[in-house]
Structures are given as C-alpha cells and as structure tokens.
C-alpha cells in the first residue's frame, strides 16, 4: 500500500490561506493588461458636448415654478448640490453620466456632494438622506427604482429642497414632491432606429429584433417605437424574428448565430442596445459575412458601437444621452432664479451614421 504523507489539518489550512492571499497579491500587484490605447474612457469626458433639449419650448407639458413648489430663491453658485447615482459606474452609461454631472459642477463652480448606491435601493435612500444631512441645498437623483421614495421626499419637502431626477422617473407628484424629470424618450429612440433601418435597407426585406431583457420598460418602449414606425413608414420591411439577447453581448452573439443560419436572407438586425449589436457583429464575422451584408442598427451610442460604424459593420447608432450635467444644472439654475421650468424635460439624443461617425467618435461615451 502506498504511503501518503498525512495531510495535517492545520498545514492544509495555512497552505490554502497563503495560496489565496498570494493569488490576490499577484492579481493586484503585477497585472499587465493588453495595451489599451484608444480605449481610454477618461479622455472621452474632456470634450463634453453639452446637451440640448429635444423640444424647442424647453420642455413639454406642465411647468413648475419655485412659488408653486415652495421654498425660496437660491443663488446656484453659492449652493451645495447633492448627486445620488444608482448603480456602480461599471458601464459606459453610468460612467459618462456621473462624469457629466461632475464636470458641469466644476464648470459652474458649484460645490457637489456625490454618493453611489451600488444597485442597492436601501443604500440609495440613506445616501440621499445623508446628502441632505450634509447640507445639500439642491438634489440631482438618478433613481434605482421608481417607487419607495416617500421617506426621502418627506425630508426634502420639509426643507424645501428642489429635486431633479435624471434617466429614470419616480412615482410622485411633479412640482410638489420633485421639480423636474430629465430623461430620454425610449419610444422615440425606437422610432429613430426604425428610420435608420429603413434608410439602410431601402425599406424592403426581412429584419430581426434583438430584444433587451424581458419585463424591462426600456425593452418594451424601444420595441414599440421601432415596430410602430416600420408599420407606418415601410410596410415592405417584415419583422420575422424577435428573440431576447438580455442586453448582453454573449447572448446577442449566440442568438444571431442561430438567426443567420435559419434565415440566411435576413437584411437587417435591430439591436436594442449596443452590446447585443456588437455580439451580432461577432456572429456575422464568424459566419464569414462581409461588412454591410446585414444592416445593423443599435441604440446607446457607446464608443465601441460608433467604432463599429467606422469599421463598416454597423449602419446606425441612436444615442441614449447620458450627459445630464448641463441640462440638470441649467434646470436648477432657472428654477432657483424663480423662473418656470418644465416638469418633463426630454433630453436630445443625437445619432451616429456613416456620415458623422468618424468625426464624432470622440463624442461617443
């Protein structure tokens, strides 16, 4: 019988612990990733292009003034603004959003307090309460959820602190619980994507949709806008395939691989976010297709997708603008000076096509 040196409990534990620690130290100490030039996210923020309101009137629907909201006029320059971000800055959208707020605060010389809820709603609630306690006179909130804001709103309204929410709405009374909501119109994004698809395909043939995560309002609205516009403007385009890619590149790739095999004649793919669109590009490359064989239109406007236009694989990208900074501060400024602001402000989303992609690559986030 073979004799095996007995594994002593203690020594094994020590060994494992040492191994784990060394492993961590290694990863932290001498990592050397691929050369990442041209992919530097930070540089992109230097040339923040600012922001335009979509509707010329400076907003839509009912408006709000400081008199109807309660509270008194403040000079924005001497005020403290609190910003509560919902998710970790781990994707381009959130990174650009936070950077835009910070840049605008710096530009205007406003004191800014920030907090990040790391995708935990309870943390966001306490974050905002902290911001108020720390002396924020005005609040910009990127809400994680639409509901459950009562405790914060109560504290804020007791102190007459104006609140602007960005990218997501909260379920409360505008101009009473909060001042304005600034965000994108997802249905409109879908419509504009349809326009680009019609232009790219010439309005004829079969197209596919890579849906976002099921049960998400972004998914439903972007789908609705796209489908309605296709029906209305280009009855020659048939949507023959609707499968979810869960907003992820990997899923977009594998679904597209199946799509191009079962429907070799597909003319276009509408991906409801850039990541799935990039997955679709991967799939087309893998299947030996050439750039332009299948038209791809995506939504978001990340750097990678715009680069895809430059490379010829993607035909159009509708931006979902994350740069809320200028508009948010402008709204607060106008409001605190006593003038009226709209309760719903739709941010202007630009778009990228072959004609402007190369020039505007620096604008993409």
């Amino acid at each position: 019988m073979k004799h095996i040196a007995p594994l002593r409990r203690a020594s094994v534990r020590t060994l494992l612990a040492t191994g784990l620690v060394t492993g961590l130290a290694l990863t932290a100490g001498c990592a050397k990733s691929e050369d990442s030039s041209g992919n530097d996210k930070a540089s992109a923020q230097q040339e923040d292009p600012g922001q335009v309101v979509a509707s010329p009137s400076g907003g839509s629907g009912p408006s709000c003034t400081i008199d109807s909201y309660g509270g008194s006029k403040v000079d924005l320059k001497s005020a403290t603004v609190g910003f509560s971000q919902s998710e970790k800055e781990a994707n381009p959208f959130r990174i650009a959003e936070t950077a835009s707020i910070k840049a605008e605060a710096q530009k205007r010389g406003v004191k800014l307090l920030t907090a990040n809820a790391q995708s935990q709603f309870s943390k966001q609630i306490s974050d905002v309460q902290d911001l108020i306690a720390k002396g924020a006179d005005l609040l910009v909130i990127a809400p994680l959820n639409s509901d459950g804001w009562e405790p914060v709103l109560r504290t804020a309204s007791a102190k007459h602190i104006p609140i602007v929410t960005i990218d997501r709405k909260i379920n409360a009374a505008a101009c009473k619980d909060y001042v304005s909501f600034i965000g994108s119109d997802f249905v409109e994004q879908g419509r504009r994507a349809a326009d680009q698809m019609i232009e790219a395909t010439g309005g004829k043939g079969e197209v596919a949709i890579l849906l976002g995560a099921a049960g998400n309002n972004v998914t439903t609205e972007r789908t609705k806008g796209f489908e309605d516009r296709i029906k209305e403007k280009a009855p020659g385009l048939k949507i023959v395939f609707r499968q979810t890619g869960d907003f992820a590149r990997e899923k977009g790739q594998s679904v597209t691989e199946n799509l191009i095999q079962s429907k070799p004649g597909i003319k276009g793919i509408y991906a409801e976010n850039d990541e799935m669109g990039l997955g679709a590009v991967n799939a087309l490359k893998g299947a030996g297709k050439k750039p332009g064989d299948v038209k791809i239109v995506t939504i978001d406007g990340t750097r990678n997708a715009v680069q895809g236009i430059v490379d010829g694989w993607i035909d159009g990208v509708i931006e979902s603008n994350p740069r809320f900074g200028p508009l948010a501060f402008q709204t607060l400024d106008t409001f605190t000076q006593g003038q009226e602001v709209a309760q719903d402000i739709v941010i202007q989303d630009s778009s990228y096509t072959e004609s402007n992609a190369k020039a505007d690559l620096g604008k993409a986030y």
Partner: protein
Amino acid sequence: MLTVTGLCKSFPGVRALSDVDFAARAGEVHALVGENGAGKSTLIKVLTGVYQPDAGEVTYNGTPVRFATPLQAQQAGISTIYQEVNLVPLMSVARNLLLGREPRSRLRLIDFRRMHREAEETLRSLGIRVDVRRPLRELGVGAQQMVALARAVAVDARVVIMDEPTSSLEPREVSTLFEVIRTLRERGIAVVYVSHRMEELYEICDAVTVLRDGTVVHTGRLADLDRLHLVSLMLGREIGEVRREGLTKFAGSHDAAAEPVLQAQRLTARHRLHDVSLSLRPGEVVGLGGLLGSGRSETARAIAGALPVDSGRVVVAGAPVRAGSTPAAIRAGISLLPEDRKTEGIVPGLSVRENIALAALPGLSRFGLVDDARIDRIVDTFMKRLRIKASSPHQKVGELSGGNQQKVLLARWLALHPKVLLLDEPTRGIDVGAKAEVQALVDELADEGLAVLLISSDTEELIEGSDRVVVLKDGAVVRELTGDAVTEDELMRAIADVPEGGPHG
C-alpha cells in the same frame, strides 16, 4: 393505567412483536429491557401511536384506545422523552416549557412575566433550578432533559416513557433526574423506563418486563429478580446450562503467540469509554462481551480510528498509531468490519469488484490509474475463497444478500493483508448457512496468524469463538475471562457484576 394485551406487529420479513402483554401502572416505574432487536422500540412506538398494531389491544384508563398518530397519544397524556431532546434549542426554557400554551395578555400577546413565573413554579415543584429566561441550548443535556420531563408533566401526562435517558448524562445529572422521576411516581404517574444500566434499573425501577425476540420472557417486580437472573433472561441463556459443543462453527482455541500485536491503552472518550485497555496477540480471537451500550462497538471504533478519543493510545507491533485517523489505523494493519453493514460497510451502488478493491486501490494502481488485471485476479481469488455468491463481479453489492455483503466486506479487508481484524457483529442479520461460513472463516484467519477482536450479541457465538473474553460495562472493562473461565455463566456473572464463581441464580 396503560396496558396492552396480545400485541402483534410484523414488518416485511420480521415479526417484531408477538403476543406481547405489558402494563404500566400509576405510581410505578416500570423497566423495559431487552437486547438489540428484542422489540423494545417497536413496543414503545405502538404505545405512542407511531405504529399501528397488527393484532391485540391497547387499553388506557380502562378503555380500549387506538392512537392513529403520536399527537393523539400525546393529547391523551402519553409523553415520550427521547435521548435527543425534541425541544426548540433557541427558545428560552420558559418558552419551551409552555410552548403552544403560553399565557396571553388581553391583547393576545404573550405575557412574558406570567410565563416566566409559571415556568419557574413548575420547575421548582420538581426540584429543578435553572434560569427560565436562558435559551434552552445553553443548558447541559441533563438539564434539557429535565425541562423535557417538566414539559411532559406540565401538559398533564399520565404516562411518561423514557428511552435511555441517562446515556449522555453526567453522574450528578443522573441523580437529579432520578429525583424528578421519584417526584413523578409520587404524583401517580406511570413511568416506563428503558435502559441497559443495571445499577440504574435497580435504583429507580419497581417492576420489570424483559423482551426477547419480540416476546415477553419475564414480567414482575424487579426486587424479586436478581441481577444474574435478569442478565440471563435478557441474553436468553440459562445459568449453568451445559455447554454444548459444535453448535457454532468455531473450533475453539488457537495457538497464540506470546507478543501482542495490538495494544489499546487506556482509551477514553467522554460518556462512551473509560480507560479501556486490551491487547491482542497474533492468532488469537478475543471476544468483547457486555450488554448493548456497554461500549463494545465504541472500543472497536476507537481502535480503528473511527471514534475520536480524549486520551489513550493504540500501539500496533510496537509502533503507536495516530489517533482518530482511519487511514492511519488501516496503514498500521487494523481493519474494522463495522456493525452497521448497510450504511457504514458496503458502498451499495458500486459493484462487488469495486467494493472489494476499494480499500486496496492505492496498491492496485499505477500512476493513479487502476490496474484492472490485478484487481480481477484478486477479486476472483477472494470470491472463490469466501464463496461469494453474486451473478458476476459486476453485480451491485446492494443487490446481494446480507451474508454475501459481509463476505465482500471481509474480502475488502483481507485484500489489504491486515494484522488485526475487528469484527463488530459479523453474523448479525445473515442467514444460518452464511453465518457458519463466516464463523469458520474467522477461525481460519486466526489460524493463519491474524489477531481478531470479536463482538457479538450472540453469547454462544462469542464464548465459542473466543479464546479470551474482555467484558465491558458502561464503557469500562470490568473483567477478563481467560482459559476455563470463558463460559456463558461467567460472562453473565461479569455483566451482572457478581463476583467470580459466586452463587448461581
């Protein structure tokens, strides 16, 4: 108070109880004794509604009853205290005591003040002093059992059944427990007390019923029955019965070498073993005698490294074996055939072949790959030598008969060429033919120079198979029978704690 008459209960293939009469009377502590498989637990389960009797009648307070569920029995006033206390360890003593009947305030909320007061009163009346606000799990096992008892009394139990209540108690806790039991008796409660500890039985019990093989072999006042007689009733052996040769297949004595190959020195494990020492010489079969729960299996497991010991050591061929490690014991040449063959012995889903080769695998492989040709040879040898009956070496062991499973296990160990073989109930639950074969095999192995430790509840097998018998009681060695003293009489005397050569029953 609670009587049964003509009770019968069968399970597929086994008649667990046949025509059993039993009566628990108010204000009496009634001992229920018997060896493994005698039918004690089946009887208790019928009394408490876990099982339904096949025939016979249960009478409670003079009226025939039939408990469909344990809950019904409990509601009727029959409480059972198990070894493992079935209370809620995280709740306070008071909560446990009054669980389900907590005093409520006007708002239907628990009235904690009143609950604590009531709990304290209940416990004090039984002579138990504990802080009722503490969580139950912080109490010792004994105190927990006391609370369980108090709860049984508090729910107006008329019959309390206690299954080996003292097995994990300290002596001090035992005496407190007995105080409580006496209080119960004075209150006119019928207590059924199951235990194997002679001293306890004689200290606390008034009446006794002895079960053996599913039938009542004796019932009456305990004081009228001396210890030796009680042991003989339990084991089913008459005192002074003429020793009949050749009933078992053991040949008897072996020529043992002088130097012991295995020495167990002062093995101690809390609540289980106290200073157990024994030695085995090559070519010798040493029996381990004693009643159920006397520490026989524990001794074997401690030697094999399967039971952690608090102190003591095992020496094989002069070299100490690392304690508490089965692989170390196996490398030293100690092999244990466990008592519970089905869950601890065989690997039911693997084939006969894999089971035999399991322990010897490192020696039967090269570079971590199994050498199938060598395994086939060894498996073939042992299947022939032990006459293992299987459709093929690839049949699953779980499908074999008990006797053949046991032989497969023996083959597994023999393939390792051990120095010491510990056999815990090697013939239990196997048919007569296989039993004889296994017995003959043990003899043969001893003749070949193996040191064998034999545990058997079958006294006859133990006496005839062993050259010496070490008798255990309550986890300690009480006597060693050698030479002419290796007889059933002496074994029973040793167990009953009657001096050697003392008076017959």
